[in-house]
Amino acid sequence: MCLAIPALVVELLPADMARIDLDGVRKDISLSLVEDVAVGDYVIVHVGYALQKLDPQEAAETLALFAELGKAA
C-alpha cells in the first residue's frame, strides 16, 4: 500500500513547495510531481510529495452514487 491522503493547499512556497493543511495539521510538501496547483486545491500527498490533484467534481459524483444506492435498496 502507499499511504497517501488528500490535503488542502493553503500556501504556495518557493522552490516548488507548498504548505498543506489536514484538519489543522500543517506540513510543507513538494509540488514537483504535479502541475497547475493553486491555493484551495486538494492534492493527494505521499511521502512529502503531491502525487495528483483531487478532482472535487468526481468526488461529489462518487458520493452521489453511494447515496443513490441507498435509495434504490
Partner: protein, 371 residues
Amino acid sequence: MKYVDEFRDGDLAKNIARKISLEANTNHTYRLMEFCGGHTHAISRYGIADLLPANVRMIHGPGCPVCVLPIGRVDQAIRLATEQGVILCTYADTMRVPASNDLTLMRARADGADVRMIYSTQDALKIARMNPEREVVFFAIGFETTTPPTAVAIRQAAAEGLKNFSILCNHVLTPAAMHAILNVAGGVKLDGFVGPAHVSTVIGSQPYEVFAGDYHKPVVIAGFEPLDVMQSILMLVRQINDGRAAVENEFTRAVTREGNRKAQALVGEVFELRETFEWRGLGTVPDSALRLRQKYTAFDAEQRFGVKYIPVSDNKACECGAILRGEKRPWECRIFGTVCTPQTPVGSCMVSSEGACAAHYTYGRFREEIQ
C-alpha cells in the same frame, strides 16, 4: 477530514453491503484479489469482511512493498550501514523487516549502525548536504507511487552535484506482479481484481487493460477508504454476473486513464527496467523492477559500494506463495500464530501489518477461533 470522512460513512456502507448481498449470486463464490496492502488494511481495519456475504471472498495480494522485499535486499542495506559505514536513510516501514542472522535495521542501529528514519526523500537529501564528509544512502523501496519522489531526489542530487548521495534501488512494478500471479502454473482461481489506488494515480488505469483483455479478469480501481473498497466489490460482482471483463475506475477523483504524465516522464528519465527482480512470495519476476539509467549510475549504491545481492531462501514451512495466489488462507499455514507472529515474522506475509498473515493475525483472528 474532507474527502476522507465521507468515504467512511457507516450508513452508506450498509447500503452498499446490502446491494452486494442482493446482487451476489448465491451459486457462485466470488474470489476477488485486492492487490494493494492499502485495501487489505482498509478491509481489516474497518472489518469489511463482516459486511460481505460469505460467497464473496477477498484474497489479499502482494501489494505491500515491504512484504515483497526479499531478505537479501534488506541484508544489502544492513551491510551498507555496518560494513561501509554509510548513513542509511530509510522509510520507517523497513526498520523491523527480518534479515539474515536475526538482524533488522532496528537491531543494526542498536549495534551502532547509523540508520535514520526519514519521511521524505527531501530529508535524505538534507542529511547528505549536512554531512558532506559521510556517504548517505537512501534505501529506496516501493511501487510506482513511491518511485517518482526518488526520481526527483536523484535529479536534484545530480543538479546540485551532491557527490555523497546514492540509493539502493528496490522500486518495483505493479502490473508485472499481477502478470506473475495470473501466470502461475496450473492457473489461479481469481475472478477479478480490486485495482491499486495510489499506484494508479501515477500510472493511470490504462496499464490494467491487458488483464481485462488478455486474461479476461475484471479490474476495478478503487480508493483506499472503506466505501471505495466496498463500491469496487459491488462493481466487480456486477461485471462477473454479466460475464464482462473491463477496467473500471471507482477512484475517479484521483485516477485518470493516462495517470500523472509529469511523474511518469520523470521516472522514465531516471530509471529503466531491470530484466529480473526477485519478489518475496512470488519468486523471480521478469521486467518487474527498475534500476537507475546509465547516466545516473553514479547514484547507484550497489555499484558504488559493490554490495552484491545474495538471495536467501524463505523458510520451507512458509505458505506465502500459495496465500498470495489465493490458494491458501493464513491459518492453513502450519506455523501461523505459533512460530510466525507479527513479533517474530517468518514469512513475507507477516512482515508488515499489510501482509495477509499479519492482517489476519492482528485484526481477524477471532473469525476462525471464536466462530
